[in-house]
Amino acid sequence: MALYTAKIGEIVVGKKGDQLQALALGSCIGLVVYDPKLKVAALAHILLPEKSKFSKPGPPGKYGTEATGESIKNVISRGGLRDNLVAKLAGGAKMFESLTSGTNMDIGSRNIASVTKSLGEHGIKILARDVGDNQGRTIIFDVDSCLLKIKQANGTIFKTI
């Protein structure tokens, strides 16, 4: 029984009885890849959609393009089965309207697109997601029930997916 927190760029792994959380996600994405039968889960706190040409190697969960693969490795190394894996994700908000008045798509949307694409490439099905919008989220994943609780700034759980 433990509660693990994924800081920006980190991936945490938990088994039956554990809870995984990521605090105050804005444009970041919290991606849970898990084996619902054997109860093993990994939560990645993803910061950016992909590496730029200047980027140095970051922590494993920093980029949407890499986090899925790393999460899969983590779950399997802790006893999960590749064929059982499914995913849930939350985050990717757009907090400040004026940030994207230019041409670029906002980071949140790009993160969502990057993670969704990467999950597709790995053949992992997204069972539920709560993304976009303009509010911060704290997420808590319960490995036993495989439910992802989503909290608002005021501390209330406004959604369980």
Partner: protein
Amino acid sequence: MSNPPNDLIPDDDFYAAFNPKFEALQELSNIGVGHAATALSQLLNRKVDMSIPRVNIVPIEQASTILASHEEEITVGVFVRTMEESGSQLNLLMIMDTESTHTLLGILRRNEDTTNLLDLDEISKSILKETGNILLLHTITAINSFTESHWFPNSPDIVIDMIGSMTDEVLLNDHEDNEGEIKVLLVECDVFTDDGKKVKGNILLLPNKVAMDTLMNRLYGENWQETM
């Protein structure tokens, strides 16, 4: 807020590589925040003292926990995006905690319950947004005249939410192309009004790579990299 613990302060190598830029930004911050404090004094119609701004360059991952006690702390964020020609962008974000917001609204708008930031009405939000806007525009005006630049501001945005959820988006925007680790400049300044009440404003200056080069060229001349 107290000074960040030592392990949050970039190491000597970082300063050695970054020094001229750091100094330039520190000087810009001093000038900018000084103007902002003067504006606040006029707005509140009170004598205002300010502390010397503390300037820190921090990795983006730690920005929210340096600004507030924890990632989920509710804060007010006012954001202004300013642009110059050719992709050069300087963004400003002001963060105020519950206590400072309470103090500010108590002065500008009496009889208003502001204990919970999430329950503020539209008038209070509007007051905060415009106050933030005034402070940030004074900051940018000061930077413009000091560096003979023409950063042009967009209209302000206000967000009241968990600090962690607002910093990453703002800090990341257009900073992805910065080399290596993403670091941002934090300016912290305490402002005291004459009745001893404290308003703490954290202003974040966020030049993108093009803007940083532009600033350095204007402050130190086109060949600054060769002379340092």
